[in-house]
């Protein structure tokens, strides 16, 4: 009973912390300008991808090294459809649908792989998608990239709109993952993470839940990609299909604490800030900084910052 009450208290403090943070960020959007507005927008975008990755690796135990594939697919689908003048809501519905279809078609065989094999398999999938985008130039514009329709709005206004779009996407992602973790899907994927064979003996159709979870994860990643393309108004295959996106997201999840809601938020924010500083100060050592960080995380906080400091303090 005491433990229940304590858990409830912990839960309430955590939801309150996140809600408060989001309210502050909504207000901040009114005042921030220029560089910082764009920096925050991109941080939100990375956190969305990190949360999508977290759903796969933190909750289900599958590390999606090829998550960039969906970011790229989302960006390209959005670009192609918007250029043909499709209404926005239809464009983004199509982005979600096509990302999910990709998951069913490619995820069903890929999700038969486990552990490191899945990670390698998905990164190959991502590389293949990148090659297709580069070479199918009649559809995608190939190495020339793809431009989005330019909005008539002033950049000042437009960037503020994108700030709120990305923040809203982040809120939707967080709410969805919270809900998912409490439903049947949440129980199924935690059982899969613990022991896939044992999960099957409980009557869990593991293939179905794995593909479903990846489709949800891919949809959020693809939406982030779509909004990114719309925001940047120009995308290039090597940029949106960059495996680095998956790597940075995985590192963010690890740094923050996988399988938690707050972890990827902290991890994503920290990594993007460090990355930005490293990028600006010592461009050529940028990857050295990130690499060192990965080593430090694995050595000193393998369970993640959030798990270490938050749950450590509140007791297990």
């Amino acid at each position: 009973m005491v433990e229940n009450a304590k858990k409830k208290y912990e839960h309430i403090t955590m939801s309150m912390t996140i809600s408060l943070l989001l309210i502050v960020l909504f207000v901040v959007g009114i005042f921030v300008k220029g560089y910082y507005l764009r920096l925050l927008t991109s941080i939100y975008m990375f956190i969305v991808v990190a949360q999508a990755v977290n759903l796969m690796m933190g909750f289900m135990g599958y590390i999606p090294f090829g998550q960039a594939a969906f970011f790229g697919v989302g960006a390209y689908v959005a670009g192609l459809l918007m250029n043909r003048g499709l209404p926005l809501w239809l464009t983004f519905a199509a982005v979600v649908m096509i990302a999910s279809i990709f998951c069913v078609v490619f995820g069903t065989p890929l999700l038969r792989l486990r552990g490191a094999y899945f990670a390698v398999g998905t990164s190959a999938f991502s590389a293949a998608m990148s090659a297709i985008a580069l070479n199918a130039s009649r559809l995608t514009g190939g190495a020339g990239g793809l431009s989005f329709p330019i909005s008539p709005l002033a950049p000042e206004v437009l960037y503020r709109i994108f700030y709120y779009i990305m923040l809203s996407l982040l809120v939707v992602t967080l709410i969805s993952i919270t809900i998912i973790s409490k439903t049947r899907i949440g129980y199924a994927i935690r059982a899969i993470k613990a022991d896939e064979d044992a999960a099957a003996t409980l009557g869990i159709n593991t293939t179905f839940y794995k593909v479903l979870t990846w489709a949800i994860s891919a949809s959020f990643t693809a939406l982030a990609g779509a909004f990114y393309g719309w925001w940047m108004t120009y995308i290039h295959p090597l940029e949106v299909f960059n495996i680095n996106l998956a790597v940075v997201s995985i590192v963010s999840v690890l740094l923050g604490g996988s399988g938690t809601l707050l972890g990827p938020i902290i991890g994503g924010a920290v990594i993007q800030t460090i990355s930005e500083v490293a990028w600006a100060r010592f461009l050529e050592y940028h990857f050295l900084v990130l690499g060192t960080l990965i080593i430090l995380i694995v050595l000193f906080v393998p369970q993640g910052l959030f798990t270490r400091f938050w749950e450590g303090r509140h007791g297990k």
């Binding site: 199924a188 099957a200 009557g203 869990i204």
Partner: protein, 260 residues
Amino acid sequence: MVNDNILITKNVSKLFGQLRAVDSVDLCVKNGEILGIIGPNGSGKTTLINVITGFLRPDAGTVWFAGKEITGYPAYKTARMGMARTFQVPRPLQGRPIKDTVMTAALFGSTKPRISSVHSFVESCLASVGLEKKINVTPDHLTIQELKKLEFAKVLATRARLVFLDEVFAGLRPQEVDDMVSLVRKIWQEKNITFVIIEHVMRAVMNLAERVVVLNAGKKIAQGTPHEIVNNKQVLEVYLGTRYVAQRKGWGDQSYAKGL
């Protein structure tokens, strides 16, 4: 056939390369009984269960469950039809309260209840194995015996009609074995569950099973009441060697059942 036997296998075989792990096994499990399956290490007991529950596909033969052919069904389907099994090494959800392990079993299993409606059912499953006080404890704080009881609670939560207990008594002290034996018997009496127990601990099998099937090198070599089995010459030869049996006729009856 439908009413009498809950499970029938006919000529079921499973090959691992050249090895016939299960070799044309015919098995009948009567509705409501406790059937023991014994056999030396590597005799194919667990493989047989894996083939029946859908972990492995049989290379030959047919499996019927509750009057329906289920040969080659995947594990999740057999689970949904009402079969459940425990594992030799308990497999709970690590790092989460044991309530969650049982909850997952209750949510899937052979019915699909709503999450809000299963809390009291989960508690009753844990209570019937005597773990009601540990409901919020994580598995790493449980003893081996408690972990085995948790496996038990898990299969109860799936609302299975046929339960395979794969060496639930292994690794327990004699006192704990007796505990588990009475737990199995209690649950068998209270609920309409058929048990198949795969076991090395003879003390448990002899106490619980009404019928015993003996496997050796993938083949079924004997079946009968526990009393018949411990006096079966072929069984004794398999366990103790031909020379030993030739020397001591009728030995099994007195000490084998009690001692091992």
